[in-house]
Symmetry: C2
Amino acid sequence: MEFFFNPRGIAVVGASPHPGKGGNIIISNLQKGYEGEIYPVTPRHQEVNGLKCYDHILAVPDPVDMAIVYVGAKLVPQIIRDCGKRGIGGVMLQSAGFSESGPEGAEIQAEIAETAAKAGVRIWGPNCMGLVDAVNKNVFSTVAPAIWSAGMTGGNVSLIVQSGMLAGAFLIDIMTHGGRGIAKACSIGNKMDVHECDILEYLLNDPDTGVIGLYLESIVDGPRFVSLCKNAAKPIVVLKGGKSAKGAQAAMSHTASLAGDGAIVSGALRQAGVIEADDFFQMMELCETLGAYPSLPAERQNRVAVLTYSGGAGIVSADFFESYGLVLGELNQEAIEMLGQVYPAWMKPDNPMDLWPAVIVNGTIRVYNQAVKAACFDPGIDAIFAHCFVGGFDLEPDLPAMARMSRQAGKPLVCWITGERKAVHQFQVEAHKLKVPVFHEVKRCVECLSALLNQPQKGAATGFSQAADEREKLLGLLDGHKGGLDEYESKRILKTLEVPIVSEEIVGSTDEALTAARALGFPVVMKGVDPEIIHKTEANLVRLDIASEDQVPGVYEELRASMGEQGRVLVQAQISGGLELIAGLVRDPQFGPCVMCGLGGVFAELIKDRVFAAAPLNHEDALALMGRLKSQELLNGFRGGDPVDRDALAGVLLGLSRLGMAAPTVSQVDINPLIVANGKPVAVDATIVVEDLELNPV
Amino acid sequence: MEFFFNPRGIAVVGASPHPGKGGNIIISNLQKGYEGEIYPVTPRHQEVNGLKCYDHILAVPDPVDMAIVYVGAKLVPQIIRDCGKRGIGGVMLQSAGFSESGPEGAEIQAEIAETAAKAGVRIWGPNCMGLVDAVNKNVFSTVAPAIWSAGMTGGNVSLIVQSGMLAGAFLIDIMTHGGRGIAKACSIGNKMDVHECDILEYLLNDPDTGVIGLYLESIVDGPRFVSLCKNAAKPIVVLKGGKSAKGAQAAMSHTASLAGDGAIVSGALRQAGVIEADDFFQMMELCETLGAYPSLPAERQNRVAVLTYSGGAGIVSADFFESYGLVLGELNQEAIEMLGQVYPAWMKPDNPMDLWPAVIVNGTIRVYNQAVKAACFDPGIDAIFAHCFVGGFDLEPDLPAMARMSRQAGKPLVCWITGERKAVHQFQVEAHKLKVPVFHEVKRCVECLSALLNQPQKGAATGFSQAADEREKLLGLLDGHKGGLDEYESKRILKTLEVPIVSEEIVGSTDEALTAARALGFPVVMKGVDPEIIHKTEANLVRLDIASEDQVPGVYEELRASMGEQGRVLVQAQISGGLELIAGLVRDPQFGPCVMCGLGGVFAELIKDRVFAAAPLNHEDALALMGRLKSQELLNGFRGGDPVDRDALAGVLLGLSRLGMAAPTVSQVDINPLIVANGKPVAVDATIVVEDLELNPV
């Protein structure tokens, strides 16, 4: 990817001398910062912005690593071929009129893809704004000149943005509002070739980039994306657009029907250690905060000191703490004494620190500095939340001193700023220079501080393994099946995956039924098993509470009759009173096989407690997955019963993960209910759905 | 209150000639806008800011309706007495050093309160920033001169803010950021006399005020506050500080005022038709949006047209719609045709309207205007959400034309703005002039539009009635009781309130127990009733599932023995399998008796589905209360059973409300469980707690 980010010469195909035109803006942007040679390519002009034009890309001299192409779609295939001949490795295709513009454009896009693959040229775009590298002042983009007015401030946040216009507009906004800086902003448009994973991988190794924010409407290669994020040493924040769009997928299983509303996307991102955002500025502000403090003490907790000039502001800040997983630190004696040096005698220092009475006596700078110092010395404080006011009241604090102390102590400082517009702007610019995250709203400030202090542990993911013979055995068992497998077959397959199964037997006569029931012990459950009927309860094929032998023959005959003498009858041990869970597998178009774990039973619809993670899982992933359920209290002991054996539950989830990885034709699995009896999960009912591979290419 | 808002002459006690001092800022602020006479009162100077000084308040000439007092606390009592003599009806006490500053200040505050009551003078404050009336340019405040730099823009949003510094700081911030206007901002400080209800009542009748936002740390008179809000014709938005446990702690140390339990506060506000905010700007932006469109068509729905120059922006906007109760309207044929006139031929108009391809061909102004027009003509659209960009790309829309069309059609327009800082500011200022709500973040924009379209119905609350003899009867039954009443006594009292009670009988012998059990029908429940023991289950005094006569004597003897032969034994019909609810009453220091309704049973702790409302309730209030439970699905039919008879459940809640209103000594009531059998709620267990009135003065 180096030819995109550090090209030793750029050809601009479609260069124009007319200011305001894309082909001219690109040249102007390059001239303002790019240090390599710029070669305008156009047969219609001799010169653009004082640069000699070339009438053909083949005529451009060496060295040239990259071409920015801004011409009509139909001209593009030939240009790509020429780039290939010319030895140009990368093309940024910034014009529109491709797949986003209807069938005709899609056809051209497909042709370009083929051409590029043959020519050995990577394509970035089309329909994108390219790259803005604020640290190296490389603007390979049609982004408006306003981007330069903010001074092109460098920072350590890099962005990957799918939407073209949004990238440009958002970039101008964040760079002009409050002096925010960025490292690289990459607008990737239609992603016909280069996509988020390619760029993400590059940025993870980019020394200028400390944190990466992505706005994505789709994820091209979910498994690679998850794997990159899991192994990333840098924080990653994702805003995923289009989460509310309901998938058109036929929901044969409960698991599949639960997968809407972005639960799979959120689950996979969470599992990968990604922080999810839901709005644009929030994404940027999360990135900035994480980027401002890349290395915090490992033993830190989440105890915050709140500095404020207004009791009310302290109150509202503290109100947000609990829901964001932060706590007001308790000040130790030393901190109280240090504050006492600037507080009026009548006032007992506490947290939140209501500094106004002290400020009246001793002035803002002395008081705020002393408060930061006290927080820095107090081992019971991990971070500092300072409410500042500027533009009147003589309340301007000494931010550089505060920032210096907080950095020395390794205790992140964040500011909530209120005040007069110009002064606020100046404060923001200064704060950004000092890398102190600064916010205009309390909630966002608390939210970002929480993301910083509670950020997921990053580290190399451990591997995934599957015994070779398990795969063979599974494929053998699945061979010849299509559609929903019946309960008995489904559980036989799960058994080979070491999923604990309820004791049960298929019977072919009343005598066999009696023998089985006696062996299992009363009460038993009897079910009609008909592969055509997945919802047995609705079809009246389930008989619970069969308490004695004399009931067995009658029930057997009834069930057989209900199935038109076709299906089989299953006799099952009855497990009751335990916690009902549900586990499953669904195949997502973006992330492939995804494992689900959730609360089942009569309250399930109400509580909607379900979590997803993309396969493959390892044991830690499985434990983390169940750890994300809201129903932790129930897992730790239901109606006074034993806690769930989490290792055993992990075994069930790992079995589902291995099934999803081994058997691409398995599109859905439901284990419902998965009853926890004496702490052990047992699959009581299950359905495996097998689909033709062609129908489900992922 | 008129002497505070429209005084015919103001005395400023503590006037100072030194710029920057509070006593000088007050005078300067008055001189900039107030049109009546200003009388500086100070014995130390002849003249302040060119105005003649009076050495005593008694010397000030007529007319003078109000005094602004900014002197040390100890001098205040005498000044109040003099104001009374002088016929001054209102004193704004803006200095600090009262109850917020410790016991000494609290003592002076109490003395002032007594003095003022005797002198017939109303006190506003102390420890407050007073009043800023931007429409009439009356600044009765020490708020910094920066407030004037924004041109003191008038608007129809009035604010009541408890915290002094916050009021000033916030006001400066909102008036300088984006040209926001306000009507009146009232900073009420320690609220020793004039409090939020007094001001709220005034503002509800103030023609300049269209909507009222309140930041409150405590609510002095909950019942009056609820009643004012319930009957208000104007929207009211409340940010209540100190809702979390930690926040409440901060509130107590700050203002010595009580902050209530979050659920009770939220319940009471919701019941009163108040919109609750949780952050400062959010409160302001909710107010502005509601104030911008005071009268919407009654038959409106919540179908929104989204205009955007970026597909991605449309996607993210739509992602928020579902969770905020908005829907993307479906465009009708006429709207599609109107958009077709500006769209490129290949593009089919849809909602969100991705206008970029049309803008390229026809320019922003024509396309955005046409899109607004199409939305205005389409009867399937109720509101317009426009994403705008300014400061590059030639994307500035014609906001006045858009605003005009939307007003004519009665379809509110809101804008999400992105862009270069200066241009954004200019756009915000223009939008505020046009009364078009404008936001910098998508989520807030969606949130405010939702609050506007889904705002609670306002209207006169209907009355509350209680039969005179019910009150007498209750007080008679409660007479002589103290502490927790036993289950049987509690239910006898609830029975007089028409709360349905499980069939049960107190028995004094095994024979009586047998007779009772036979009459009730097996299975029965037997309980030991000992007024000392509220938690019977933990004390092993409950026997369920007594299925036959032969068990009764043994259980009777066991229970008697467990209670040391002291308590009574209760035989009860056993109700099982139904939905378990819980209902109750608590007495809140701010709101008085509050009725609670919630989900009971084993999942209650997990689901935490409980709602509160302040008594008195009428039938509609009770229905609205249960309508706020998350568990609506369960209420509509649990495990295939009958839906809950909501009128019957309302009867239970109304009974609790009447008990709370009639009997001030009842501090808590629990009906737990309240089991719904065949749709009818039945109280199975209950506890009423009676406290000495002195302990619980509200």
